[in-house]
Amino acid sequence: MTETNLFPKDLTRSETTPPLRHEPEAPENTPTNPVRGWGRFALICVPYFWLLLFFFIPFLIVAKISLSQAAIAIPPYLPLMDWSKGVMGLWEVAKSWSLDNYIWLKEDALYWQAYTSSLKIAFLSTVLTLLVGFPIAYGMARAPRAWHTTLVMMVILPFWTSFLIRVYAWIGILKTDGLLNQALLFTGVINEPLIILNTSTAVYVGIVYSYLPFMVLPLYSSLEKLDTTLIEAAEDLGCPPWKTFWRVTVPLAMPGMIAGCFLVFIPALGEFVIPDLLGGSSTLMIGKTLWIEFFSNRDWPVASAVAIVLLGLLIVPIMMFQRHETRRNEGDM
């Protein structure tokens, strides 16, 4: 059947039959369109499919486990779905879902302390990374153009060595008879070796060192785009250089600063390797707690609950920030 004889036929029945099924599709089905339409659809689908498969579904599984109870089984929790009982089974299972794990998190002070301590460490190390990273990025952006590629390469270069090895290397530097103490003792700055390893200081050092490139690169890209005539314009209008920095450079580097802070804060909050290797037993961080719950206690449901709360802690500020950004860009704030 062709389009031409379909239309008159349908039109004659239009009073009694539902609206024309083909009508909205008609322009789409012109000979040139279908392939392009499908191609576009497929292209858009790929990232969504990726997110669905590797983010949303795992998230649902974790969320589901967090509502279950620990058990001596493989996997070590009570099953959530009993597919053999069909739809009724689903209902049965849904009734057994409980928030016990979340209540447990609330009642045991350990988790609360781990969260606050993680937030504190992540926040402080983000601030420290920003303080260290800003001058580096600024220097890079103001360097002669021919050097830029080399400088960016130098920032990226440490990534070519394994993250774990780089953190281990810090043990050699920070330990009581490590390089740092030896150098300080030799030069006579100190008489007694400093105890840095296995303290929170070592954790800060480790985090700032490891995440510095994530701060420097977005900052550099913001500062590099900054038009130097804006700095001159500010000075021309009577603004001394230090004030120009706060009134012009910092606000215009804000997108890079925010991106860099998120890139440091988020992984630092859940950081496990650095506190484990450099912080010793005294440093409490949620990533480590999570690890212990999963692998030492084999309490997957509680560990999942810890993970879900952590995700919530991260998503809320990001969403607030994004809403603020949209409003700022649209209107006049």
Partner: protein
């Protein structure tokens, strides 16, 4: 090419002719080197209060460097700059009572129009009330009252230009520097804005220094023009003088269109000079004050609009007349430019106003015509 408009010559305002007048801005033997490149070469220039001065030249002539030296963004390698008699050496840009309008406008993208204009006032530590009233005054001056809350990216090019102008004027600087202020605007808007700039300058009674490569712009807005090349000023004079009495071939050719005929001076009596052109194989007469003497090589230059074309040889013996063939006609609407081949290697241009609507011109391609001009229409150029 359209006829060059002469700038508004304010006959009553000629402070540079008064020996008792103190210069407002003075560049004294300024040299600026960037590595081995000499951007400004031992340059001296006096600018007077309430003067609208233009620095005109091609790219790389040093005009922007000179302006940046005055703003304080660059330090001279040698020489001094004075403002009202005070040496500006060591005064940072943020302490100079000079404001600049940047070529790129350099509006702060994170601030709205109002905040941009208020920026300089805030730096002066004015009260909130005063800042608001001054900002409002500036916005009405550039007719942008309705746009105060807009961000720069929400404005058109012309509006941005006005915000930049308002921002640089808000502090009531002693000198306003304009760095190619109209380069980004289209022709129509540019011409409108040129007139607005003149009005603004007269209204605010400020000293303006404009940098431009556009000779029409310089002619329109400026009281005096400094034509620059290779870090030096070739001629500093009013637009009329620059156009009618250029002191060198570079200036003559840079401003408008001009025909130049090389020759040798064969006779000289006071201002009456006779020149032999070997290309034309004949003598040309001109009345022009020149230091060149009999036997010197010199060039005769005539603006195309000062030439006439006719089929018959003009009867008046005092005019120069040479025969040629119409080689090309460029129809510009208001005028037509006739390219007349007067010798195997020489084509001269003459501009004829199109005074009728007739498309069919009496003089057409390949016609044998007489090209004539009065002896006081030409100029003698010795360099």
């Amino acid at each position: 090419m359209a006829r060059k408009p002469l700038g508004p010559i304010r006959r009553t305002f000629l402070p540079w002719d008064d020996p008792g007048e103190q210069p407002f801005i003075e560049f004294r033997n300024i040299t600026k080197r960037f590595g081995s490149f000499v951007a400004v070469n031992d340059l001296s220039l006096k600018i007077y209060e309430r003067e609208f001065h233009a620095l005109l030249g091609g790219s790389g002539c040093g005009k922007t460097t000179l302006m940046r030296l005055l703003a304080g963004f660059e330090q001279p390698t040698s020489g001094q700059i004075f403002l009202e008699g005070n040496d500006l050496a060591g005064v940072p840009p943020y302490k100079r009572p000079i404001n600049m309008m940047f070529q790129s406008y350099a509006l702060f993208p994170h601030m709205n129009v109002e905040k941009n204009i208020a920026f300089g006032l805030e730096m002066d530590g004015l009260s909130g009330k005063e800042i608001r009233s001054r900002t409002h005054e500036m916005l009405s001056l550039v007719k942008l009252e309705g746009f105060r809350k807009r961000k720069p990216h929400q404005l058109s090019g012309g509006q941005r230009q006005r915000v930049a102008l308002a921002r640089s004027l808000a502090k009531r600087p002693k000198v306003l520097l304009l760095d190619e202020p109209l380069a980004a605007l289209d022709k129509k808007l540019r011409e409108e804005t040129q007139l607005e700039l003149i009005n603004l300058q007269e209204q605010l009674r400020l000293t303006f220094l404009i940098v431009t490569h556009d000779q029409e712009e310089a002619m329109t807005v400026a009281d005096r023009i400094s034509v620059m090349d290779k870090g030096s000023i070739l001629q500093n004079a009013t637009p009329g003088e620059i156009y009618e009495q250029p002191n060198s071939r570079f200036v003559a050719e840079f401003i408008g269109d001009i025909n130049v005929l090389d020759g040798q001076i064969t006779r000289k009596h006071r201002e009456d000079v006779q020149l032999f052109s070997s290309v034309l194989g004949g003598h040309l007469s001109v009345r022009y004050p020149t230091s060149a003497d009999v036997g010197d090589h010199a060039a005769l230059a005539i603006r195309p609009e000062k030439m006439r074309i006719s089929f018959e040889k003009p009867e008046d013996q005092s005019t120069n007349a040479i025969q040629g063939e119409v080689w090309d006609i460029a129809y510009m609407g208001d005028v037509s430019i006739y390219h007349i081949k007067v010798a195997e290697t020489e084509t001269l241009r003459a501009i004829v106003a199109n005074t009728t609507r007739l498309v069919e011109r009496p003089i057409s391609w390949d016609d044998q015509v007489w090209l004539s001009w009065d002896s006081d229409a030409g100029i003698i150029l010795t360099r």
